[in-house]
């Protein structure tokens, strides 16, 4: 009862603009439902003018936004008009201004904005990622993300599709899609190596989450053990350093595990299974011999079973340092006591 009332009141509240939009959009679709309709942009480029009315109706804007809210200034008799753009991309960038008419708060930063600011006009505009007539509510299109990004980043999308993350995307909400690692509206640092240096943080968002990792029996200690090792120390101290001629960055997660093609650590395709590890080390450590990879404890904490030699050294110093320093401090204490006693 309560729910019905609520739904009714919502319907009533939105119905006036909704009704206007519906009327207007129906009018537009009289022509634009024609799948063969195109516009000649010149230079051999054509712009399809077909709009899928059903897809739009299901989209986040479908019930409340009228065509002219975005396509401002379009009159019913624009059929022979012209467009102020020579490519679809240019058109999409102009349309981004229309998005801003409502979405004032939309972030004007992020990797693509940074690319545009760098002078690269090829970076996508709002509709080229989010879609135009088929925009879905945020969070409801996770599984579409790789395809959207893949429209431009095809090589990465293909590698991702075969990876441990990408291959599970349809059945598993835990695996990251492109935007979980590449947070497009947040991470704007395009300097070489910036992303690689941040991989312990990026991967750590999921891989240190005990709830999520327990399902797969994956250790949440991976970041801590990485940081405890040489590579982790160097990447931490290299924060803000740019990769460049003569400047090498220490290995982050993806340098060993792979980026888009990351696999389970027991998958024969994995770069970090024992059979491939030497080659993986050699990416940076030229000429690393067969025993070299043992220098890396594979994210294990030293223990009597794993790396006992390291464990023994650690235990020795855990006892020796307090014993030695404590013993000396005691002797100094007795010395001072002796001096005070004589006074």
């Amino acid at each position: 009862m309560h729910k019905t009332l609520l739904a009714l009141s919502v319907l009533l509240a939105v119905s006036p603009p909704g009704a206007r939009a519906a009327d207007e959009n129906a009018a537009c679709l009289e022509c634009h439902a024609d799948e063969s309709m195109t516009f000649d942009l010149g230079g051999g480029l054509t712009l399809p003018l077909f709009v899928d009315g059903n897809a739009f109706a299901k989209s986040v804007h479908g019930q409340a936004v009228a065509c002219t809210d975005c396509h401002a200034g379009m009159k019913p008799d624009h059929a022979t008009g012209s467009l102020p753009a020579k490519t679809r991309h240019e058109l999409a960038r102009q349309a981004s201004e229309a998005c801003r008419g409502c979405h004032e708060e939309a972030p004007a930063e992020g990797i693509h904005h940074a690319v545009i600011a760098r002078g690269d006009a090829g970076a996508p505009a709002c509709s080229e990622c989010h879609g135009a007539h088929d925009i879905l509510a945020p969070g409801s299109f996770r599984t579409h993300v790789p395809a959207r990004c893949g429209a431009c980043h095809a090589k990465e999308a293909q590698a991702y599709a075969k990876s441990v993350h990408g291959s599970a995307i349809d059945s598993n909400d835990d695996v990251p899609v492109c935007t979980d690692c590449h947070r497009v509206h947040k991470d704007a640092d395009t300097s070489p190596g910036a992303l690689s240096l941040r991989t312990p943080v990026i991967c750590g968002r999921c891989h240190t989450d005990p709830k999520r990792m327990a399902k797969y029996g994956i250790s949440t200690n991976v970041v801590a053990t990485y940081l405890a090792d040489f590579h982790g120390m160097v990447t931490t101290l290299q924060r803000g350093t740019e990769r460049g001629p003569g400047v090498k960055l220490a290995a982050g997660c993806t340098d060993c595990h792979g980026i888009h093609d990351i696999q389970k650590t027991d998958d024969p395709r994995s770069r970090v299974i024992a059979a491939h590890l030497q080659r993986t080390c050699q990416q940076c450590h030229q000429g690393a011999p067969a025993m070299f990879p043992q220098a890396w404890l594979s994210h294990w904490e030293p223990s009597p079973r794993k790396a006992p030699a390291v464990w023994v050294v650690r235990q020795f110093y855990r006892l020796m340092i307090p014993f030695m320093v404590g013993g000396l401090v005691l002797q100094i204490g007795l010395h001072i006591l002796g001096v005070l006693r004589k006074r």
């Binding site: 025993m291 043992q294 220098a295 890396w296 030699a309 110093y317 340092i321 013993g327 005691l330």
Partner: protein
């Protein structure tokens, strides 16, 4: 002025100390930010040094210098011992083990007098052996960490993280021992406070020498030891157990088993040290092996001694001995 000053450290020793000190400071400055890299001060210090790559370059340069100094030190020391020109004055002897107890018991008021010291007191010997043995560990593990690819060509890779664990911890221990033990005993102790320049000038006033190293001073000046020592047999012929102290002896190495002391006789007929116990001639390798063996044993003994003396004091509460204070028994 100069008559009242005694040269304690040669020019070479002073230069060696200055270089070791410079290396040590640089190694700490560039090493600890790597050990404690998560702290803000570490990042700031690394930034100041021009980034982690520069910090590591400086660390390596200072490390190689210290390694070279260590090798030179061992080389000259070994040559000096093999030619029997170098006295075994840095080797801990039974007197040093006993001096620790006597000095600490003196601090606690259990003994009326502190022990008298020869060229190096037990505190200095501990410092020396701590540095030398620490250096051996640091140089070996540092070398392993510098050349992991070459090392793992013929040794297991797990040695690399083990070496890193040892390098980082031994470095911390060295830093703590130097800042606590060395700085206190050399500079902050009430006799020297606030600063003892002897290692930089090489000289110490005779008055202070008399106070700190009376046994050595007496020997330098050809006097008998100042304090009453245990009665000593007169020099004489060889006895079944060896030679009596102060007797002339053929060239070679002599071990005094009751004093845990080794003495090289450079030329036939030179005298053995005066004092109790019999000196028996031993092969060179025995003499040379005893040096590091006693050095390491003494290192481990030192922290135990403090706890032992304090524990005994708290348990038994031994009273002060009579005022005349029987002189400490010696081997």
């Amino acid at each position: 002025m100069s008559a009242a000053q005694i040269v304690r450290f040669s020019r070479r020793q002073r230069i060696e100390h200055a270089l070791v000190m410079a290396c040590f400071v640089l190694l700490c400055l560039t090493g600890f930010p790597q050990k404690f890299f998560t702290h803000a001060w570490a990042a700031a210090l690394v930034h100041l040094l021009g980034g982690i790559d520069w910090a590591r370059r400086i660390h390596h340069l200072a490390g190689y210098t210290l390694a070279a100094l260590t090798v030179i030190h061992f080389g000259t020391g070994l040559a000096g011992m093999l030619t029997r020109q170098l006295p075994f004055s840095m080797m801990p002897t039974r007197k040093d083990f006993e001096d620790v107890f006597r000095q600490l018991r003196f601090y606690l008021g259990e003994l009326p007098r502190a022990p008298l010291y020869d060229r190096f007191s037990y505190k200095e010997k501990f410092e020396y052996w701590g540095l030398v043995m620490g250096n051996v560990i640091m140089v070996m593990t540092g070398f392993l960490l510098s050349f992991p690819i070459q090392v793992t060509a013929f040794l297991p890779g797990v040695l690399v993280p083990a070496a890193k664990m040892a390098h980082s911890n031994e470095g911390l221990m060295a830093f703590l021992v130097i800042t606590i033990w060395h700085i206190f005993n050399v500079h902050l102790n009430p006799d020297a406070f606030p600063f003892d320049p002897a290692i930089f000038t090489g000289k110490i006033s005779r008055e202070r020498y008399e106070h700190e190293h009376p046994l050595e001073l007496a020997r330098l000046e050809g006097r008998p030891p100042p304090a009453a020592e245990a009665p000593v047999a007169a020099p004489g012929p060889v006895r079944p157990g060896g030679r009596v102290g102060a007797s002339p002896a053929p060239a070679g190495y002599y071990l005094n088993a009751s004093r845990w002391s080794v003495h090289p006789v450079a030329r036939d007929g030179d005298g053995l040290p005066a004092g109790p116990g019999l000196w028996r001639r031993v092969p060179a390798w025995v003499a040379l092996a005893l040096v590091p063996l006693l050095g390491v044993t003494f290192l481990m003994f030192m922290p135990v001694a403090g706890f032992a003396v304090l524990g005994r004091h708290l348990l038994l509460r031994p009273g002060r001995p009579p005022a005349d204070g029987a002189s400490p028994r010696r081997g």
